[in-house]
Amino acid sequence: MKLSATYAFQDPGETLFAALVDPAILQKCIDGCEKMEKTGEDSYNAHLKIGVAGIKGSYVGKVRVDEKKPPESFTLHVEGKGGPGWVKGKAKIQILPKGEGSELLCESEGQVGGLIAQVGSRLVEAVGKKMQDEFFRKLGQQLRNTSVPGK
């Protein structure tokens, strides 16, 4: 599964970048994220509840950020496993200034395994796209609602 999408924000790149590496904000933006805790510099543990094609389940995941080049880009690695199988993905985020705000390019790829592959493989891409769109929509909302350092 490979996705590539761009999202427009009213905020400058610095604000966006800071929000994207803030676990508190991430938790609010990730659909079904019940808990997110920092386990080290740029790494977190996340507890997620996701449903794909009628396969609802809990996943425990590791999130790691690397190739950080504030405020332009970073790479996000996600690995999760749970009753319905496993998910693994990586997203390369690039932030470019655009007018007064910024534009974010997200190129992600993911794999699933176990039951979710067996049952929902045809739907995983659609679900992934929906989750990603939802994430950035919520992020936009968060940025408008909260005062974020750097704003």
Binding site: G83, W86, G114, A117, Q118, V119
Partner: protein
Amino acid sequence: MYLTEELAAKGKVARGYVGRAMKRVEDPRLIKGIASYVDDLKIPGMLYAQFVRSPHAHAEIKSILTDGAKVLPGLVGIFTGADLNDKLGTIPCASPISGGRSPQHTVLAGKRVYFVGHPVAVVVAETRAIARDAVDLVDVDYEPLPAVMDPEKALQEDSALTHPELGTNVAFIWKLPAGDVDAAFKEADKVFKLRTVQPRVTPMAIEPRGCVASWHAGESSLTLWTSTQVPHLVRTLLPDLIRIPENKLRIVTPEVGGGFGSKLNLYAEEVVISHLAMRLERPVKWIEGRRENAATTIHGRDQVAESEIAIRNDGTVLAIRSKIIADVGSYCQLLTPAIPTLTGLMLCGCYKLKAVLAEVTGVHTNKMSTDAYRGAGRPEATYMIERIMDLVAGELGMDQVQVRLKNMPQPTEFPFNTATGLTYDSGNYQAALAKAQDLAEWPKLLQERETARKEGRLFGIGLSTYVEICALGPSKIMAAGGWEWGCVRIEISGKVTVITGATPHGQGQETSFAQIAADWLGIPMEDIVVLRGDTATAHFGRDTYGSRATALGGTAIVMSIEKIIEKAKKLAAALLNSKPEEIEFENGKFFVKGKLEETIEWGRLASEAYIAKNLPPGLEPGLEASSFFEPSNCTFPFGTHIVAVDVERDTGHVNILKYVAVDDCGKQVNPLLVEGQVQGGITQSLGTALMERTVYDESGQLLTGEFMDYAIPRAPDIPEYILGSTETPSPSNPLGVKGVGEAGTIGATPAIANAVIDALSPLGIRHLDLPFTPERVWRAMKEKEARS
């Protein structure tokens, strides 16, 4: 005309039960829903087990944490490979090929997992729901490894390895050099090549697997109820694995909702559940789910063959050289290596080839094992040779019927020895072909094709003239014991109990064996009960697979009845003040030769035999006999299937317009059962031809894990079948029967394939791989259009 009408017309009905189309005595209980399957069994104190299965095709197990699951109330235990593997034997392969290399098949994964669905741990709980929840809470940490998925790439030197400790992905190599192949190729006017792909398919029995084990502590014995085709094989193999004596183990097979070869095995789950019942001293049940079934019950087919065919300009097929790569999956299950070798042995089809060179390479991949699936090796062979016949016809501009007739042995040439070393017991291939052509209205069909082509429609006619191998078989060619056992008991009341070791799983032996026994004993069928599926009553047996039950199991019953009649004559002689050699037996009556006015029937004989006050000196009480039947040869049923299709140009959809099958399974005990077997077989094979394919992605994830993604034929996909038969009795058994359980799956796929390719031939399409899904057909058409 249906078989039933045909038989009635021949006047066979009057003879007795055998040969009559009779409804199955099994059906009322199945239709009413009052039959018992394994999952219907409830035992007080019974626990439920669920397996924790690998979500990776190939990975190292770093750790298994069970603490999270252990806190669930109602959880009884969690067992991993470390807890069980050294206490239990490994899963056997009964047909290893010398020089082959396969890993130890432990009941649960050890340090590594080798396919998606590989059992890693088993959870036991008070309820099924708790067990399922607990499975999700077992935390297994895997380190994924490269998965070997493509059997052809797996043979390249730089390929990753399914089982690194073996140092190769080759599970075995089997060679069949038969006849002088080089000489035959030198003689050839033409040599052409063909690559055939037989996709992996999933058997999808409606009832998944499942078992219940109950330990009887007082007797130190175990009863295992299991949904299997082969309770007797399980009883032979399981004792060593769970470390109990054979005579402390009873296997019961209640109703089985389909097997098709997928339950012709000893599976790890049966071993684990048996062990857990002994260890926990409580009954334990495990019922496989549909998704589990798709991933962890054996798959079928999965062969790629590169063949070279030597022919003469007159249409004679001289020889075939074939390199067959069989994807055996991660482990060799019970008969895994035997299946592609049957393909090699049957490669001649019903033709007089001079020589065959078949080389089968079994390849380990990170997938579920392949093993017997309805037809087991013969559908693959038939598909190859029948595609070859059509290509020969195409190559030489010959008619597809003529090229077949040119290569068939004449009826007078039987028993016919094939190039591959088999002896076909009896046959009249031309008669079946002629009859199928009649039923199909062949000249009219050719006319329709001509008209359709003129109008630009894609209309095709395909046929397959198949032969297969059944009634497996003489012990000398089997892995072990190819006989079958049966027992007949005239009860004190005169009612009759027949016990068969050829355990049915849907074939209807309770009906057909009662028909046989009723005719031989001369009594009403209603007086007979056929017992099956319990090793405590059916002491011996080799069960039902390879279309063997009637030919072998039916004969064992006839042999037993003959023994009883022999004994009954002695008793009748004493009662009629005569000598045994003077006693005649006809229609259930014993009498002194010529003195029909005084007869004795089974009822009186039985009471005399058991009350035992008037027995002649030296005669044992009782009227019971059992027999083992060891056949001299397998049987070789055959037939012709003819199919007419049209292909929709816009969608690639294949419509079956006409389906004719003429099958010769020798003598028929119950034509209705024969018809049912043929209909079911064709339908399954139609799935293989048009829609079914088990798909793993390149990382080894199974994508066809349930009926949403795995297509099987539904009612609207199934055309009306026009069925007929010819009757060439088999000399291999006294009943003259051959077997018909797999005929449909063997004859149908190549006939449909040939029809589809014939329909596409005006576009210049010469061959296409199975299955002919609309997408595949549409793409092939577009590709041709783009090139031209």
